[in-house]
């Protein structure tokens, strides 16, 4: 079926070429990183994880969000999602691929990455993260491909696929939970040591992932004349609204615990992020913007009149994605490492090479997504199920 990706309008090829051009500088920068080391990034002895791991964390959420389509469609037979489901599964493939690329980009010795498999360490959450991420990638590849193939051959999908579908539903929750455990089990990082870290990851994922999917679905309407269906969009918007409410609520719970208990270790990261400490305040603009945008997105999502306004909805979703990305894609990492174990501030800012490498990985992910969605939409159009 991949051959469907080889026939496209000029704009399709132009898009792919643009993505390759975007990836070029980053791949060159990565060559420098492999030879010179991670010193070309903005990371430091105190802030030892940065942009790469932050993007990996955000994208794990985006990947797992496919379950927000799979669960209603397969488990509850919510037929309205019929057209979108393959898009969600393929987006999961692209997202997990990007996750794996970000992890590899962050390793100091990437050529030794196989050591995680050669010397399995069952007490290490990173080992389990490797297992669940690769497992989820495999599951989505199998489920997506087999169901699409069945659609192409105009037959119902084979009955054994149900097992993998149900497994992927449970597995989606696991990739979040395990990634959240990377943070939530570390004794010295007060910003991360919270029982609701996994829950926050889930709620953040279930609003940001479908929001990105919906934004891309709107884009598909324009560029590929592919309509996901008004009912599907409405239902997904409702899911996003509920998830964002929970996401914001959970964050406010953290704020309460920190400031009502008045424990310095809990308060300091939040104070640093939102107000600055001792003159160190480079992230306060970002974080306050994220807070404002988060509430704004809720104000535009909760009222049904505004949510069902499909001229306004893409903007709302864009605001939501920005807000959740700032929270999870940078705030989480910086807050965990600042202040450092000695209660001092070492500020982190990604360098240009670091940003270029991240952009390159996003471009490659976008290429994977483009190719997969091209195949899916072409087949749907050919079969008349678009």
């Amino acid at each position: 079926m991949l051959e469907k990706a080889l026939n496209g309008k000029p704009s399709y090829w132009l898009w792919l070429i643009l993505l390759m051009l975007l990836a070029g500088p980053g791949l060159t920068a990565y060559l420098f990183q492999v030879t010179l080391g991670l010193k070309i990034t903005g990371m430091s002895r105190d802030v030892s994880w940065g942009l790469y791991i932050a993007q990996f964390t955000y994208l794990v959420g985006v990947a797992a969000s496919a379950v927000m389509l799979v669960l209603p469609y397969y488990f509850h037979h919510y037929k309205a999602f019929r057209k979108m489901i393959i898009l969600g599964e393929f987006m999961a493939i692209a997202s997990v691929s990007m996750c794996l690329m970000f992890i590899l980009a962050d390793l100091g010795q990437p050529q030794r990455a196989m050591n995680v498999i050669l010397h399995p360490t069952l007490n290490s959450i990173l080992f389990w993260d490797m297992i669940v991420l690769n497992g989820y990638l495999f599951l989505n590849m199998v489920v997506g491909w087999v169901t699409l193939q069945a659609e192409k051959n105009d037959v119902p999908p084979p009955s054994w696929i149900k097992f993998f579908v149900y497994l992927s539903i449970i597995w989606a929750f696991s990739i979040h939970t395990v990634t959240a455990f990377l943070y939530a089990g570390l004794p010295g990082r007060h910003y991360w040591l919270t029982a609701i870290m996994a829950a926050r990851f889930l709620s953040s994922a279930f609003c940001s992932g479908p929001a990105i999917l919906l934004l891309l679905a709107f884009l598909l309407k324009k560029v590929a004349k592919f309509d996901a269906g008004t009912d599907a969009i409405k239902a997904l918007a409702k899911i996003i609204t509920y998830a964002m409410c929970v996401n914001v609520f959970f964050f406010l719970l953290e704020v309460f615990t920190a400031f009502y208990s008045q424990i310095p270790g809990h308060m300091h990261p939040l104070v640093y992020l939102f107000a600055g400490v001792d003159g160190f305040n480079q992230w306060t603009g970002f974080m306050c913007t994220a807070a404002v945008l988060a509430f704004l997105s809720l104000a535009l999502l909760i009222p049904p009149k505004l949510r069902d306004n499909h001229e306004l909805l893409p903007w709302t979703l864009g605001i939501l994605v920005i807000a959740t990305w700032i929270d999870k894609g940078i705030g989480l990492l910086v807050g965990g490492f600042t202040p450092n174990p000695f209660e001092r501030i070492t500020e982190y800012a990604p360098t240009i090479p670091e940003i270029l490498i991240a952009l390159a990985i996003y471009s490659i992910g976008a290429m994977i997504l483009t190719v997969l969605w091209k195949v899916a939409i072409t087949i749907k159009k050919e079969m008349g199920t678009a």
Partner: protein, 261 residues
């Protein structure tokens, strides 16, 4: 025709899997299944010091002049080829800091001047319940039988999970090649390369030859090193006679480095 080919591929795949069962089982069950030398070709040096739980007691009041700190830190860093990198990507195994940075959970409001002006030595605490060992995905950092939390530079993939897990900021990452930052290369000890994490290892190479760690030796008695499990050891004596504190005890890591204030 199609059906035959599918059948053939299915049978071929299953056979390949089946053929792989015995070698895989062998690798998993037979210890040293592909080892070159017999296991009895290797043994520890007879001179080596043995202990059930290596620990350190630092008498902080004995470090009253900066030169005394310099001496122990240089002894460690010079012999272990620890680079001197300026800025926030520094590498350090043993360093100094003030009271409130060393013991941030022990905030003292009315602290005596002699303690406030004092500097403290910080290093890896070789915890009994180390978070770094728990998180390492390759067992590149592991706890030995004698309690030392060791680093295997050959295996480290540079994921820096251990650095995130360590509550004491004891670990350093080689963001770049360290050799340009070495003032003096000790030819008897390796350096590291970019991309691996390093920290104090309680001088395992010295213990193996029956000697004390460099910092303890250079401290003139201000740093005591010994077997915490041995009630008659120097360190246990010091702990019996002096009140000591450890860093961030509430986190449950149970450090093996004690500070006499």
């Amino acid at each position: 025709m199609n059906n035959c080919r599918r059948k053939f591929l299915k049978i071929a795949g299953l056979s390949a899997l089946g053929l792989g069962v015995k070698p895989a089982l062998d690798l998993l069950t037979v210890p040293d299944a592909h080892a070159l030398m017999p296991p009895d070709a290797y043994k520890p040096d007879a001179k080596g010091l043995k202990a059930k739980h290596w620990g350190m007691v630092i008498d902080t009041s004995k470090f009253d002049k900066p030169e005394k700190f310099e001496k122990v830190i240089q002894a460690c860093h010079n012999t272990h080829n620890v680079p001197e990198i300026p800025g926030k990507q520094e590498v350090k195994w043993l360093w100094t800091d003030e009271f409130k940075a060393t013991f941030p959970d022990n905030e003292q409001h009315y602290i005596p001047d002699k303690v406030e002006s004092r500097k403290f030595l910080l290093l890896c605490n070789h915890c009994e319940n180390p978070a770094c060992v728990r998180v390492c995905p390759t067992k590149a950092t592991f706890k030995r039988e004698d309690g030392i939390v060791m680093m295997d530079m050959h295996r480290c993939i540079g994921c820096r999970f251990c650095m995130a897990a360590c509550p004491y900021g004891a670990r350093s990452f080689n963001f770049g090649e360290p050799r340009p930052y070495l003032k003096y290369e000790n030819p008897e000890y390796p350096t590291r390369m970019r991309g691996v994490v390093e920290k104090c290892t309680f001088c395992t190479e010295r213990l193996a030859l029956g000697k004390m760690p460099y910092c303890a030796e250079a401290s003139g008695g201000a740093i005591l090193f010994g077997d915490l499990n041995d009630a008659k050891s120097e360190v246990r004596k010091a702990l019996k006679e002096n009140f000591t504190i450890r860093r961030k005890v509430a986190l449950g890591t149970s450090p093996s480095v004690y500070y006499i204030i």
